[in-house]
């Protein structure tokens, strides 16, 4: 009898399926596009600060976008930002771990030792720009470079807290959700990050 009921229910579903929420899908796709368009450049820059390499940064941002749209598109839109940044940060950490492993393996292999993370080894970095840059812009770019270098020197959690709170403008609760930790931890990480950055950059920065 139970089997009959199951079959009957299955038949009813087959015979009269619930209408597909096409309008709802379109609506959240549009919202999702707006959200991604708004967030993508900042997300890319944050990934670039952490990873240095623009191609790697693009890869992790694209991966985060895909994961968000595939797995969490139907979630309420206010949850997207913390979810997106959690996915992004996980991607960044995965890539950094892979790099560390690769570096260890490379040290055991014969041949010229090359550090892919060492910016000074890129000869293009030492070539002067042909076009003279506007001094103010140049100073800003240099200040940003110093800030990026200091951010990279921070522990990952502090860097994450600083970028989400300060660059992305997330509040403590959202940041805690993105970092999967308590609000108290966010405050601690952020405060330590600000102090460490100011100590590194100096008063004149």
């Amino acid at each position: 009898m139970a089997r009959f009921d199951t079959l009957n229910r299955a038949w009813m579903v087959w015979d009269n399926p619930a209408p597909a929420p096409e309008g709802a899908v379109l609506e959240y796709t549009r919202e999702l596009e707006k959200f991604l368009a708004e967030i993508e450049r900042r997300a890319f820059r944050m990934a670039q600060v952490a990873l240095r390499d623009p191609d790697d940064a693009l890869d992790v941002v694209q991966d985060a976008m895909l994961k968000l749209t595939r797995n969490y598109a139907a979630r309420p839109s206010q949850e997207w930002r913390p979810l997106f940044y959690r996915i992004l940060e996980n991607g960044i950490r995965d890539l950094q771990r892979r790099r560390t492993v690769r570096k260890r393996v490379m040290t055991w292999l014969p041949g010229p030792k090359e550090d892919p993370d060492n910016e000074a080894q890129d000869p293009l970095d030492n070539v002067a720009d042909a076009a003279p840059a506007i001094p103010e812009r140049l100073m800003q770019a240099q200040a940003m470079q110093r800030l990026e270098a200091s951010l990279r020197a921070l522990p990952a959690r502090q860097r994450e807290a600083f970028m989400l709170r300060n660059f992305e403008g997330m509040d403590v609760a959202e940041t805690a959700s993105a970092m999967a930790c308590s609000e108290g931890s966010v405050k601690t990480h952020y405060s330590r990050a600000v102090h460490a950055l100011r100590a590194q950059l100096g008063e004149v920065w």
């Binding site: 999702l32 890319f44 749209t69 800003q140 940003m144 660059f167 100011r198």
Partner: protein, 132 residues
Amino acid sequence: MSEQDNEAFEVRSRALFQDSVDGLDMRIRSRLTQARSAALDAADGRRPWLFGWKMWAPAAGVTAAAILGLGLWIGSPIGHQAATLSDVQSNFEDLDLVAASDEGSADAMDMLQDDIDFYDFADKAANSGPAA
């Protein structure tokens, strides 16, 4: 390090970051747009690509054009001419069949000759009137 200094630092670092975001080059912007589109397609099209109408649009267009072209060609004088030529060809084939139908027993042309003789005789008989 006062609270006010910290705030000034936060404001400055945020402004610098925003400047660097605004100054992203077109290559990066374009690649980000592509990544976004790919992600949205993935969310949008969970159904297999085989069933996407966009996939079949070019093939459907080519088929429709071929059908239209065929229709126009048949309706045109060239099409008619082609049809006439084919009719003539089939008539020749019929004649060959008639010619070859009695192969082995008698010549088909003899049969035709017999028929002509018969019709000639019938005509004369009709014109001469009934025998008194």
